[in-house]
Symmetry: C2
Subunit: 453 residues, 2 copies
């Protein structure tokens, strides 16, 4: 069968491509995982077209791989079994801004940055902020989170409803526009984080928030790695109303200085944000200073100027790119474990030791308010020793997290990179996930090889 010829009957030929440049845009992501070409890339304009493609693919057993911006760190959008790369980029409409209801309705191809640009004039913002310019459909697919998650929750927490096209081509809604519901099974939660293995998300109804009256950024610089980690736990459990609490190690501060033209002290640092009413903020900053007194700080600074704050958070978000710029011949492997807060200090100390033993160029950063941290490790994937070291480091970090009540991935998702840990993490529940996958996608066309088999 000639797939392209068949697709031409369903979709305007101008939105179906096998051009080498288009294929290679859709054969990789932002990670170290090897590239693999799709047979064809399709750019649907609406849900009916997605439905037509899936019906066709189901009938003929053709793999379909949803594609947003290709910013995944775990190979989610790489078509290892060929087939159709379904690029949702044209379905990027901001359909409704429900000011009173605090929600928006968006096409799955809209990116988080586009959404926030559009929301500004309504005095609203969307809170889920992974570093990359990801699409909201992709972010739902991996249950993305980010620096604001400690206050505003993950992607899944902010989804009211999704329109999803099932492998059969049937179109469903997973929820409603009510902020809570006890009706039916919780399909929004099931499809969020399903990584395109159960269907294609085409539209999302998302919770958005009023831009706070004011915000303050604070920066606490420590002389000692261990003290910094202990302070994180102290602040996290003190009940402060923190909007962001980010740990950055000395190596990573050095990268910020180099690539973001900054001059922060190159020592373990915690970046905070508090937001809300001005009086409330002042009170909270005071409490934070008191809580930090027992520690030996090299510096404690607060920043109320909006531009300086944005510059700081941009630098934090861009950290992964700085590591890539610093080692252009290497590729990036990022760990993503998340542990209970009580296990966090020990686990980051363990991670630092593992990094040192690996001999790799690497830094530790993290959304530590949630117990989630990353090792950004650069390795030459042509060098067998470095590859072994990187994979060994990854395994060591995940094994530690699983042995201490944690998870192998806090926000990046499973894709192919965490798949070998699924059985260990979920035990018999992984069989149940397979049962669900098999029931919803019996032909196995949806993003084969990712998350579950």
């Amino acid at each position: 069968m000639d797939i392209v010829k068949e697709l031409n009957k369903l979709i305007h030929p101008g939105r179906i491509s096998t051009a080498a440049a288009v294929i290679s845009q859709h054969n990789h992501d932002a990670s170290y995982h090897p590239a693999a070409n799709p047979d064809v890339v399709v750019f649907p304009e609406n849900t009916q077209e997605v439905s037509a493609v899936l019906s066709f693919a189901s009938e003929h057993g053709v793999p379909v791989i949803p594609f947003g911006k290709g910013s995944s760190l775990e190979g989610h959008a790489i078509p290892y079994e060929g087939g159709i790369s379904l690029d949702l980029g044209l379905m990027n409409e901001l359909k409704t801004v429900g000011d009173k209801d605090g929600h928006v309705v968006v096409g799955a191809g809209l990116t988080q940055f586009q959404l926030n640009d559009a929301l500004k004039k309504h005095g609203l913002f969307f809170s889920v902020d992974p570093g990359a310019e990801a699409t909201l459909g992709g972010m739902a697919g991996t249950n993305a989170s980010g620096s604001y998650t400690v206050k505003y929750g993950t992607m899944r927490d902010n989804i009211l409803d999704m329109e999803v096209v099932l492998p059969s081509g049937e179109i469903i809604h997973t929820g409603s526009k009510a902020v809570k519901s006890s009706s039916g099974l919780h399909l929004s939660g099931l499809f969020a984080g399903s990584e395109g293995t159960l269907g294609v998300i085409t539209e999302l109804t998302l919770r958005v928030y009023p831009i706070p009256e004011a915000s303050v950024a604070a920066r606490a610089v420590f002389n000692d790695f261990e003290e910094a980690v202990t302070a994180v736990v102290r602040l996290r459990t003190a009940g402060l109303d923190l909007a962001r609490i980010e740990f950055v190690d000395a190596a990573s501060v050095a990268h910020v200085n180099r690539f973001a033209n900054a001059s922060y002290i190159e020592q373990p640092t915690i970046f905070f944000e508090l937001n809300g009413e001005v009086e409330h903020l002042q009170h909270q900053i005071k409490r934070m200073e008191e809580l930090l007194k027992p520690f030996h700080l090299a510096e404690f600074l607060t920043e109320t100027d909006q531009t300086s704050q944005e510059r700081l958070w941009d630098a934090r978000h861009n950290l992964a790119y700085y590591y890539i710029q610093a080692a252009p011949t290497k590729r990036m492997l990022v760990t993503d474990v998340c542990l209970p807060i009580s296990e966090l200090a020990d686990s980051i100390l363990h991670a630092r030791q593992a990094v040192e033993e690996s001999g790799l160029e690497a830094g530790i950063v993290g959304h530590v308010g949630d117990g989630n941290f990353h090792i950004i490790a650069m390795a030459d994937f042509e060098d067998a020793n470095e590859v072994t070291a990187a994979k060994q480091l990854h395994k060591e970090i995940v094994d530690y997290a699983l042995a201490h009540d944690g998870t192998c991935t806090g926000e990046h998702g499973v894709g192919i990179g965490k798949k070998s840990y699924q059985s260990k993490e979920h035990g018999t529940a992984y069989d149940l996930m397979r049962t669900i996958k098999q029931a919803i996608d019996p032909r196995g066309i949806m993003n084969p090889g990712k998350l579950v088999d």
Copy 2:
């Protein structure tokens, strides 16, 4: 086959009962739904016993109906096809209080009141507060919520992990103790709200919160129903940090006065709670007063005394029981729609008109901060006219909610009472729910006849 004889091989005979008194404790719930007897009631002591019962039931096609406290309002625990009523009451251990992690591990048979009593000395509380003394397993089963949900979320939002016994007898964990995860399919969300139709919840890891530094209750009494409803929407969308925002109509205030020995003005009233730091509270109360100025209030009072506050909230929680006490020969039908906030004012005004047209004794109350409200209607179920009126009223309210982007049940769940609305609310997604049910419980032993077929 003699079920009891077979069960005797698995469970100590002292915890298997067919005594009339025990059967009749397990043949009804707190609603108007007709009673039906189980064949036998089993009281497992641990997860292995639950597993043994389910393996046996699966093999022989015997229905299993999980039972907590029987406080359901939609017939969830009534065994309409006979079988085994599985009473989790003995599995009520508080296993872990993770102070640093802000979570607890509990047996499914522990009640919300028992949990909160035990947490007090740790300076912690559990936030999900339906009116009844429900078990935490039952509350997870229906995705319960309550007056604190506007600030702290629903049951599902507060579950990190559950131990669940599948129909096959296999034991799984649905999550981990990390506060966020992108690993695997979201089984915690799927089993929360599945109403015992997919398996038996035996243990839960739940998020708990520090008891706030201070709290203030406020009471705004309106001269006019319409103004009260408009004020709710105004306050809700102003970004105030409200912990509770409860609307109570005049008829319901009258019931509170009569049965809780109070003397509130018998007019439409909003009860609030704000909690947090003292300074923050003062500022918020001031803002609330400003926002309420344009309305013609009969009274605005704040209450900082803890005992008075508790008395007020107990009265609110007990409202349904007051209606039952006031009409002891009648039975209670409670609607439970939830709509987007922008639709709330019109929907409550519509509800009031529908109540008046029904001729039934009824009141309107609600967790209006979430868009969720209830009509508590009393009807004589021996009187065909009253039954028709009650069912017509229910249908009218649900149809209105579904036509305005809402849901038929915000917190009580589907059971048998909302089942006829599932297809209309979920459309083709209801077929998918059936597919999932069929995949996980192919013999259909788990709580047959509820939620999905």
